[in-house]
C-alpha cells in the first residue's frame, strides 16, 4: 500500500503542473491588469510611470514565455511568488487563511456526516414513512437551495430573531462563530449524503444476499452491521470524498457572506484586482487538497472492501 500511495502522490505532480500552466495561461490572456486597478475605482489619476514601475517590479514587462519559465522555476522551489496587492509572499497569505478554511470545510463535513448518513439509513429502513418523506423533502431542498440564501436565512433566524449566535465574523475561531457558516456550507453535502445513503441502503436491502441472510434468521442489527453498512460504505465514501474535496473551493460564497477569512474569499478578491500570484496559489492549494482527498478515498476503499486491491 505504501508504494501505491507514493505512486499516487507522484502522479499528482503532472496534474498540478498542468493546472498551474492552465491558470497561468488563462490569467495571461484575460483582460484587465493589476496596474489598471490603481485608479482606486476612478478616485485618482494613474500615471504611466507608475504602471511601468509596477510592471517592472513584478516582472510583468517580460515576455510571456520568460514569465512562464520564471513561474515554473519558482514553483519547483515551492515558491508561489509575491502578491501584487500586499507585496508579501503568497505562501504567507495562504498560510493565514488555510486553517480557517479547513475549520469551516471540516466542520461542514462533520455536520453532513453525523446527520446525513444516519438520516439516510433511517429513511431507507422505513421507506415511505413520514420520516422518509421529511428526509427526502429536506434533501431536495438542501440540494436546490442557494447557499447565499440559506446563509442569510440562518443569520436572520439565529442571529437577528433568536439572538443565539453572531451573524458574522471569525471571532478568533470560536465555535459560536463557526456554527452558522458551517451549517450553511454543510447543508448541501448533508442532503446529498442522506439521499445517497438512502438510495445505497435500499439497493443493498433489495439484493439476494440480504434476502438470504434474513432467511437464515440474521438479526436486523447484525444484518445492518455486516451486510448493509459494509456494502454501502463504498458509495458513501465516494460521495464523501468528492464533497470534502470540492468544499474548499465551494466555500467562497459562505466565506464572503459571513466575513470568514478563508481561501475562497482571498481568491475572489484577488481575481477582482488581478493579483495573479495569489489566484494561482489559492487555486493550486485547492486542487492539491482535492487530489490528496482522492488518494485517501482510494486507500479507504481498500480498507472497507477487501475485493478492491491497490496496485
Amino acid at each position: 500500500m505504501g508504494r501505491y500511495i507514493l505512486r499516487r502522490l507522484l502522479q499528482m505532480i503532472p496534474t498540478l503542473l498542468a493546472v498551474a500552466a492552465l491558470i497561468f495561461l488563462i490569467f495571461s490572456v484575460l483582460p484587465g491588469s493589476f496596474a489598471g486597478t490603481m485608479t482606486g475605482g476612478g478616485r485618482r489619476a494613474l500615471s504611466p510611470e507608475l504602471v511601468a514601475q509596477i510592471n517592472a517590479q513584478f516582472g510583468l514587462d517580460k515576455p510571456l514565455p520568460v514569465r512562464f519559465w520564471d513561474y515554473l522555476v519558482r514553483l519547483a522551489q515551492f515558491d508561489l511568488g509575491t502578491s501584487f496587492r500586499t507585496r508579501e509572499p503568497v505562501v504567507d497569505l495562504i498560510a493565514a487563511r488555510i486553517w480557517p478554511s479547513l475549520q469551516l470545510a471540516l466542520s461542514a463535513m462533520a455536520l453532513a456526516v453525523t446527520v446525513g448518513i444516519p438520516l439516510g439509513f433511517l429513511a431507507a429502513m422505513r421507506p415511505g414513512s413520514l420520516l422518509d418523506s421529511i428526509t427526502m423533502i429536506g434533501a431536495v431542498s438542501g440540494l436546490s437551495m442557494p447557499q447565499f440564501w440559506l446563509g442569510l436565512l440562518l443569520m436572520y433566524v439565529f442571529a437577528l430573531q433568536l439572538g443565539w449566535l453572531p451573524s458574522f465574523g471569525y471571532g478568533d475561531g470560536r465555535l459560536r462563530n463557526l456554527i452558522l457558516p458551517a451549517i450553511a456550507l454543510g447543508f448541501a453535502p448533508l442532503a446529498l449524503l442522506a439521499r445517497t445513503t438512502r438510495a445505497g441502503v435500499l439497493e443493498v436491502m433489495g439484493s439476494d444476499h440480504i434476502r438470504t441472510a434474513m432467511a437464515k434468521g440474521t438479526s436486523p442489527a447484525q444484518m445492518i452491521r455486516w451486510h448493509v453498512l459494509r456494502n454501502v460504505m463504498v458509495l458513501i465514501v465516494t460521495t464523501l470524498g468528492l464533497q470534502i474535496g470540492s468544499l474548499l473551493g465551494q466555500a467562497l460564497v459562505i466565506e464572503k457572506l459571513f466575513s470568514w477569512p478563508g481561501l475562497g474569499s482571498l481568491m475572489v478578491d484577488s481575481v477582482a484586482i488581478r493579483d495573479i500570484p495569489v489566484v494561482q496559489g489559492t487555486i493550486l492549494v485547492i486542487v492539491l487538497w482535492f487530489l490528496v482527498i482522492n488518494v485517501l478515498v482510494d486507500v479507504i476503499y481498500a480498507v472497507i472492501d477487501p475485493r478492491i486491491s491497490l496496485r
Binding site: 484587465g32 504602471v51 459571513f258
Partner: protein, 535 residues
C-alpha cells in the same frame, strides 16, 4: 434651486450639525467601536503607501497621520503635523514648523527626518508606490523617479522641527499632502514592515489583523494634543463587503455603523427607528458616461450634447438609484468650491437631442456602445435604463458588461467608445480641472481625451493664481465650457449614506469619502451593548 438648497441642508446635517449635536450631550470616554470596511472582503495591505484602495485607507486613518489634515466642515486642508508655515513670495518654498509633541507608536519622537524619510520612500521607484502622484510636485521628485538621485532635493531639514519643502508649482500642497495615502512613517522602522506591523502617529495603535475578518486597534495614549485625545478605548474595523450581511449585523447591533446601498437606503428611510440614525452627505464623486472625444461621431460636441438631452436622469435617480444621488449639472459637484450655483444642466428633451443629431449630420441615428461594470448606481443597470430613452432620440445605445478590473484597464488604455464610471471630482477643484487639460495623459485621468484651448488657458491661469477666490472663479469658467462641450453625460453626484446606532456620536459627513471617519472624534454612550459600552 430647491435641489441645491436640499443639498446644502444635507451637507449641514452631515457636517456642521452632526458633531455639535453630539457634543451637546456629555461626552463619554472608553468603550469599543465596531466600524465596518464595506468595500471588499479583505484589506490588501496595512501599508497604505502600497495601495490605492479605500478599504486600506479606512484602516490607515486610524493609525497614521499626514502633514496636513482634511477639514470636512471648511472643505479645506489644515495643519496637522505642523503648527506654522511660512510661504515664500513665489509660492514655491514652504517652511514648516513641525509639532514637537507628536510621538510614534514605537515611542520615537516625530522630527523632520521622518517626513523626509517618508516622502523619499514613496518617491523611490523600487517601492512602485501609487501614492507617488501626491508628492510629485516636490522638487527633485523626477530625479528620484528617474534614478539619478536617491533623495528629493526639495526636502531640507533646518532643524529637528523645522522643515523646508520646495515645490515645482505654486499650487497649494495641502490637498496632496493631507491624503491618507502619504502618511508620515517613523524613520527608524523598516518601511516594509509597515505592511504587517504598522507604526504611525495616529490616535490608535495597531493590535491585530485577522485577514479577511477584522483589524483591531487600541487607543494610543501618546497621541499628540491635549484636545485631540481619542475617546474610544478600542476600535475594531470589521471587513464586511456583503451588503446583506452588514444589514443583518447592523440590525442585530453587532456593528455600530454601516454604509448603505440604494436598496437599503430606501428600507432604512422607511423604518421609524433606523431612519433616525442616517448620516447623509453629497460626496465629491461625479457619475458619468464618458465619450472618446476623438472618435467619430463623438468628436462632435452636438452629438455629445444630444446624449445629454436624450436621458431623463431625474427619473433614473428616482426609480433606479432610489433617490441616493443628486442630478448632476456639470462635472464639478455642488460640494466643490468651484461649483457654479447659477449653472443650468441639460434638461430632458429628446426632440432637441434628435435635432442636434440631425444638425450634426446623423439623421439616421448613431450607435453608442458603453462598457460598464455591474455597479447598481453607475454600471450596466443604468445603461440598460437609458437605452429606451436614447432610442427616442435615435441613439442606439448598448451595454457591454465587463468586470471592474477590465473596465479600469480599458478606460485607462483608451480602449472604448463610451464608458460609465464614478469619478472623483474633489476636493481640490484645480486638481480636478487638470483632468480636462489637454497635456494631461489620457491614462492619467483625461479619459475622454478632452482638448479645448480655452480650458487649457484657464487651467494654466488658475495654476498661477494665488488668490483662492479668483482661482475658483477661473475654474468655474472652465467648468462652464466643459459643461457646454459635454465630454461626459453628466449623470449624478453621489449621495453617500451611513447608518449608525443611536449610541454612536461624533461621526462627520466627509464628502471625500463617508467611510473615512476621524475615529478620534467618535465616542459612544452607555446605551451601547454591554460588551462595547464605556465602563
Amino acid at each position: 434651486m430647491i435641489m441645491r438648497a436640499t443639498i446644502g441642508a444635507l451637507l449641514l446635517a452631515g457636517t456642521a450639525l452632526c458633531a455639535p449635536a453630539a457634543w451637546a450631550q456629555d461626552v463619554q470616554r472608553g468603550g469599543t467601536l465596531n466600524f465596518t470596511a464595506p468595500y471588499g472582503s479583505s484589506v490588501g495591505t496595512l501599508d497604505i503607501t502600497a495601495s490605492a484602495e479605500v478599504q486600506t485607507e479606512i484602516v490607515a486613518h486610524a493609525m497614521h497621520r499626514s502633514l496636513y489634515k482634511w477639514n470636512p466642515e471648511t472643505g479645506k486642508p489644515e495643519p496637522d503635523l505642523f503648527t506654522d508655515v511660512t510661504i515664500s513670495d513665489d509660492g514655491l518654498v514652504y517652511t514648516y514648523k513641525l509639532r514637537d509633541d507628536a510621538v510614534f507608536h514605537n515611542d520615537k519622537p516625530f522630527t523632520a527626518d521622518d517626513v523626509i524619510y517618508s516622502y523619499n520612500r514613496i518617491a523611490t521607484p523600487a517601492t512602485a508606490s501609487p501614492s507617488a502622484n501626491f508628492i510629485s510636485r516636490i522638487k527633485g521628485f523626477e530625479d528620484v523617479q528617474g534614478g539619478s538621485a536617491t533623495e528629493m532635493s526639495g526636502l531640507k531639514k533646518i532643524d529637528n522641527h523645522t522643515l523646508e519643502i520646495t515645490f515645482t508649482a505654486s499650487q497649494d500642497p495641502g490637498f496632496d499632502l493631507m491624503q491618507n495615502y502619504v502618511p508620515i512613517y517613523p524613520s527608524n522602522v523598516e518601511g516594509d514592515t509597515q505592511a504587517t506591523q504598522p507604526v504611525g502617529l495616529g490616535p490608535f495603535r495597531f493590535v491585530e489583523h485577522v485577514p479577511g475578518s477584522r483589524v483591531s486597534f487600541e487607543r494610543f495614549e501618546g497621541f499628540f494634543g491635549e484636545d485631540d485625545q481619542p475617546y474610544l478605548d478600542r476600535l475594531n474595523i470589521l471587513i464586511m463587503g456583503e451588503a446583506a450581511a452588514r444589514d443583518v449585523a447592523f440590525r442585530n447591533q453587532e456593528i455600530d455603523v454601516s454604509v448603505l446601498g440604494s436598496q437599503q437606503y430606501q428600507e432604512y428611510q422607511a423604518d421609524p427607528d433606523l431612519s433616525k440614525g442616517l448620516l447623509e452627505v453629497a460626496e465629491l464623486f461625479t457619475r458619468v458616461v464618458g465619450f472618446d472625444t476623438t472618435k467619430p461621431p463623438f468628436d462632435d460636441k452636438r452629438v455629445r450634447q444630444a446624449v445629454n438631452y436624450g436621458i431623463d436622469k431625474d427619473l433614473i435617480i428616482d426609480r433606479l438609484v432610489k433617490g441616493k444621488a443628486f442630478p448632476a449639472v456639470g462635472f464639478m459637484p455642488t460640494t466643490s468650491p468651484a461649483f457654479d450655483p447659477d449653472a443650468q444642466g441639460y434638461a430632458y428633451d429628446p426632440e432637441k437631442a434628435k435635432a442636434l443629431l440631425e444638425e450634426a449630420g446623423h439623421a439616421d441615428g448613431i450607435d453608442l456602445p458603453v462598457i460598464a461594470n455591474q455597479n447598481e448606481s453607475w454600471g450596466a443597470p443604468i445603461v440598460e435604463a437609458i437605452i429606451p430613452m436614447l432610442a427616442k432620440a435615435n441613439i442606439r445605445a448598448s451595454v457591454e458588461p465587463v468586470e471592474n478590473a477590465v473596465l479600469e484597464d480599458r478606460i485607462t488604455a483608451g480602449n472604448f467608445t463610451a464608458f460609465i464610471w464614478s469619478l472623483s471630482s474633489g476636493p481640490d477643484p484645480l486638481n480636478i480641472l487638470r483632468c480636462f487639460y489637454s497635456k494631461t495623459a489620457q491614462s492619467a485621468c483625461n479619459y475622454t481625451k478632452f482638448s479645448n484651448p480655452e480650458v487649457d488657458k484657464l487651467y494654466e491661469a488658475a495654476q498661477q493664481e494665488r488668490d483662492e477666490a479668483k482661482r475658483n472663479d477661473l475654474i468655474r469658467q472652465a467648468d462652464g465650457i466643459i459643461r457646454e462641450e459635454a465630454p461626459y453625460w453628466f449623470f449624478n453626484y453621489n449621495k453617500a449614506v451611513m447608518a449608525h446606532q443611536p449610541w454612536v456620536h461624533g461621526l462627520r459627513g466627509n464628502p471625500q469619502e463617508l467611510a473615512i471617519q476621524d475615529y478620534d472624534k467618535i465616542w459612544i454612550d452607555d446605551t451601547a451593548p454591554a460588551d462595547r459600552k464605556p465602563q
